[in-house]
């Protein structure tokens, strides 16, 4: 199959790549661009471990074709920290022990970032429903919700 040339912006940087027409954005990120933060947990859009932000929209990158990134903005977990300064969500996840194995963490951080961008002062219920597209098998979500609540407070005050 002939490759498709794509020009896109990832975490603020312009990126060019060649991919197959049926390759997912997740495959492109992981296998062509070395950005392995997004994970494949299911490949069918049910677990959220591959979550990225595409032009201000939270998506499962396993359900987006690499070619669809043409001319758009992609945000992944690798772009959340500024140099060695962690994003408040990242910091709070650590402080609240909101991760155990950590495989779902990049997806949750992106989903939480998107949630707080659209709703900076969410209730517990809004956080729970806002994150319902991300599966975690280790934590039972309790500490994840607390971390997001705490980060929201910090981000509002900043």
């Amino acid at each position: 199959m002939a490759g498709v040339a794509v020009t896109t912006t990832i975490n603020g940087d312009e990126v060019e790549f060649l991919c197959q027409p049926d390759e997912t954005l997740l495959d492109v990120l992981r296998d062509r661009l070395g950005l392995t933060g997004a994970k494949e947990g299911c490949g069918t859009g049910d677990c959220g471990a591959c979550s990225v932000i595409l032009d201000d929209r939270l998506v499962c990158s396993c359900l987006v074709l690499g070619a669809e990134a043409q001319g758009r903005q992609v945000e992944t977990v690798e772009g959340m920290a500024r140099g060695d300064k962690l994003h408040p969500l990242q910091q709070k996840f650590l402080e609240h022990a909101a991760l155990q194995c950590g495989i779902c963490t990049p997806g949750f951080l992106i989903a939480a970032k998107d949630l707080l961008a659209k709703n900076p002062d969410p209730t517990e219920e809004e956080i729970r429903f806002g994150l319902a597209g991300n599966l975690c098998r280790c934590t039972g979500y309790d500490k994840i919700v607390r971390a997001v609540q705490d980060a929201a407070t910090v981000m509002k005050g900043a």
């Binding site: 994970k39 962690l86 194995c101 495989i103 280790c138 934590t139």
Partner: protein, 754 residues
Amino acid sequence: MGFDPRHLERNFKSVGTSPIRPDGVDKVTGRARYGADFNMAGQLVGRVLRSPHAHARIIKIDTSKAEKLAGVKAIVTAADLPDLTDGNSEMYAILDNCMAREKALYDGHAVAAVAAVDAHTAKRALKLIEVTYEVLPHVTDVDEAMKSTAPVLHDTVFTEGVEPKPDAPSNVAKRTQYGHGDVEAGFSQADFVVERSFKTEQTHQGYIEPHACVANTSPDGTAELWVCTQGHFVYRQHCAELLGLDVSKLRVTSSEIGGGFGGKTHVWTEPVALALSRKAGRPVKLVMTRDEVFRASGPTSATSIDVKIGARKDGTITAASASLRYSCGPYYGMWAELGAMTAFACYNLENVKTVGYEVLVNRPKTAAYRAPSAPMAAFAVESAIDELAKNVGIDPVEFRIKNAAREGTRSSYGPVYGPIGIGPTLEAVKNHPHMKAPLGKNQGRGMACGFWFNFGGQTCTDINIGMDGSVSLAVGTVDVGGSRASLSLVAAEELGIAYEQVKAVVADTSSLGYNDMTDGSRGTFSSSMATISAARNAIQTLRERAAQTWDIPVEDVVWEKGHAIAKGEKYGNLASLSLKDIAAKSGNTGGPIAGHSELVADGAGVSFATHICDIEVDPETGATRVLRYTVVQDAGKAVHPAYVEGQYQGGAAQGIGWALNEEYIYGSDGRLQNPGFLDYRIPVCSDLPMIDTQILEIPNPNHPYGVRGVGETSIVPPLAAIANAVSNAAGVRMTHIPMSPPRILAAIEAEQAG
């Protein structure tokens, strides 16, 4: 190395705090590398061809067309994995499960594998492999499989543990029995008896990370394996045995692991990856799809359990018995046996009898799932106990307190208990505010107890002290939930230095002696014992170096708060030497300073938990809502309390999913209907409330700090606690897990009709 009671008064500086873990920043920035995040130059993509039949003889496998496809570099079948197991039935089962030898025994059983230059080519190659099957009748239900008319999976299996030995093969691989006393006599003394049958459907550990590895075999007989695993030394052992490699020549590196819960305690595709690499002469990356994880890794047993319990009108249990039938997939394990051992472990019983039946079915090979076999047995027993308490007219918590096991009780599986926590967890629950919270319409409260053994095992740990005074801690137990932090706390505590001065890593198999896997809640328990031992060895050397520096006998040097101190008035002028001071001079005083430990951490303490939950049931749809959940569990000593809480909450969440929704659904064609996260739906964030936890600390006398394992016990009570809550809310006793909306609705309607 026993418990030191001075620790009860000791002011721990590090142990008992909750600092940020050393691997944390990597995990929140996406830098941490899991099984599928690693690549080797020139690697090929491996994919596995799997049987679409639940039970079939493999007549022929023709790989010729696939071999001709450009880009295909190797194809393997069972012929490429000769049987080197030498009569070891456990290893043979693993071998046959990795690649079917004569029969496909379940939908998803591996029959061939390819390695190709990319995923496209590998997938096309699989389609070109022609397998001729002779489809056989199958059986997937545990009770159906026990019938004499059921299709038999192996005609070489005759039920073990039955006298006289049966003359016909069957699917009942083993019968095991536990207990003491005389249950018939005991039942005759009872004023109230409850007798019920229960069923639980098969569930999967549900780790978000599929099995993944990169295998690289060299022509000189060495090999490397990067893999997500709960035990890289165990994987090394399995792969070396199955492939005929020397253990020391196979270097296995454990990636970060994205969840295991028992499902990554033995090999599934890794020997196949190594075989492909061997044949292709190139590294092979083999990652399971989610579909494959459900169909072809290791879910837990489906069960069918009968329970009978009798009590006098004062509430004393006089007899308890259970018959427990557990499915094990196509190869037997000890799943029914564990159920038979744990079923009544929480209670002080004069007369008890449990019989376990290990039943072969055409489903994937059962693997351990967090306190394996205990949750189902607890569901059956704790449901019956609740009903019995109600009949006798005693509060369910009081009933359990009255009959709870204590120090000196003969357990239902044999040995007598030392100091244990079931009484304290029950007392804590009795007084917990959750028990007094008001309930509304269609809401019910349930509570239940649970037990797990916890294990020790072989453990090696290395402490190396850098010349700048920083400490490297190399451990061999895979970190599934934060143990690197806990072990750093222990090292810091023993050495008397700051947590931040210690850096813990999980070493690969070439860098450390054998370590048992992270299962059985043994990670922190065993590695902390080894860490304490290694630290004390290092302290011995530190004292010797100080003694040498001061030119005094080492007996006069003590180690306190991270410093060597000359003990005695005559040494009044000697300033203490810090670890950093001594390390800086180590090159001149005898070389690098280290402490090692290779030990068997035996004497793990059993742990108990009691859970409370409130559930609301919608009587029109059978839908449920978890309103409130509380976990009370004994940890012995919580090294890192936030991570102990995390284990409690995680186990509870898995139990909630198991109780209310998760199940493997098989069609009449013997194929798994729901091998994906859409239809095998685990709890999401909006399904659960905050999960309250209370950590009790009844010290384990066999650990220097009293640590008990904590990872597994919290999945044992939820099925029962929730069943009791739903039963109370709906007004009908629930006996089939999961209690999904259709089941609850059917039970309510049957109760109303009958």
